[in-house]
Subunit: 192 residues, 2 copies
């Protein structure tokens, strides 16, 4: 494989730096240093650090395997559990140091930078819609409580997950994940 | 009332600046400017910005009316609902610009700064314990689903709330709060 383009190097380094350090803590110079490119080259590819943040959010979305939620070859509730299990394991694998870029940007900067706000909101909407469709399908098979509204519940679950990540990272412990899986799968969604 | 001490001015300005702008975005100079004190005076009172963050977290905790959760003059489930309603209304009143300082610090810096990590974790633990005690009391009165483990559920609820705040701030809309109240009070906790 050839060397990635300079723009791609910057996007990859931006994702890594924003994800591990946060938006404000990662300066443009940190990102270009990590990418191994001159700082001046940044502005040949991006109008601002904010512009890079929006591209990085798209790239991050592609790493989350959301398409697995739409794989109708797997029973819907199993898919949902596998989805959150994958996300949990990814956080643990990174030593609790990264969390979810949507939630990180949402907490740190979404209310200050409109372009990032829109990108975070759109990403969370798309994810929530996939979770809602999975819940609807699971209700049809009787695997999820009949009375739940899928859209309301999906919105709640995605938000609950983001908060769970904050706690897991703060504690550097899976206890918050355990609380999520137990409460969501054994009680909230359970048809019993 | 006399003028607050310089230290108090710095703590109040630090709470306001960290809460509205974030940890990294609020520089020591921003905080001393907001407090109306010389920048050099900061280090007469605090060893570092991190030290101020820990004091600010304590001060923030005092504003959250957690003692209302222990007011046994009010039925426990009503207390729990009133508690989250108070927290929601406070966010809306501030135009969705602040969120919860525990969650903000948890997402932005807790995994980088150990003293802040411990302070955030301890604050969330104390809050969770009060929610768990309220759930235990509500179970005794039959107002909350009997099968729930109060500690597990309380941990989940506090985390779900933090994630809900991120979404409400990102959207500048109460929709995420509506999802929380509906899912938690109409389904998760409901004894039906």
């Amino acid at each position: 494989m050839g060397r990635k383009s300079m723009r791609e190097e910057i996007v990859a380094a931006g994702l890594d730096q924003f994800h591990s350090r946060g938006y404000h803590a990662a300066a443009v110079k940190d990102i270009t240093d990590a990418a191994g490119v001159p700082k001046g080259s940044f502005y040949n590819h991006f109008g601002s650090k904010e512009d890079l943040a929006v591209v990085v959010l798209e790239r991050y979305g592609e790493s989350r395997r959301l398409q697995d939620l739409a794989d109708t070859g797997v029973p819907p509730l199993d898919r949902l559990r596998a989805h959150f299990t994958f996300l949990r394991d990814d956080v643990i694998r990174h030593g609790y140091g990264r969390g979810c870029l949507y939630g990180n940007f949402g907490a740190e900067i979404a209310d200050h930078i409109d372009a990032v706000r829109d990108a975070v909101g759109g990403s969370l909407d798309a994810w929530t819609a996939l979770v809602a469709a999975t819940l609807t399908e699971a209700q049809r098979t009787g695997a999820v409580r009949a009375g739940l509204d899928p859209a309301t519940t999906a919105g709640f679950l995605v938000n609950a997950w983001e908060g769970t990540l904050i706690r897991a990272r703060t504690d550097r412990s899976p206890a918050a994940f355990d609380n999520f899986f137990t409460t969501v799968f054994d009680t909230l969604l359970s048809p019993a």
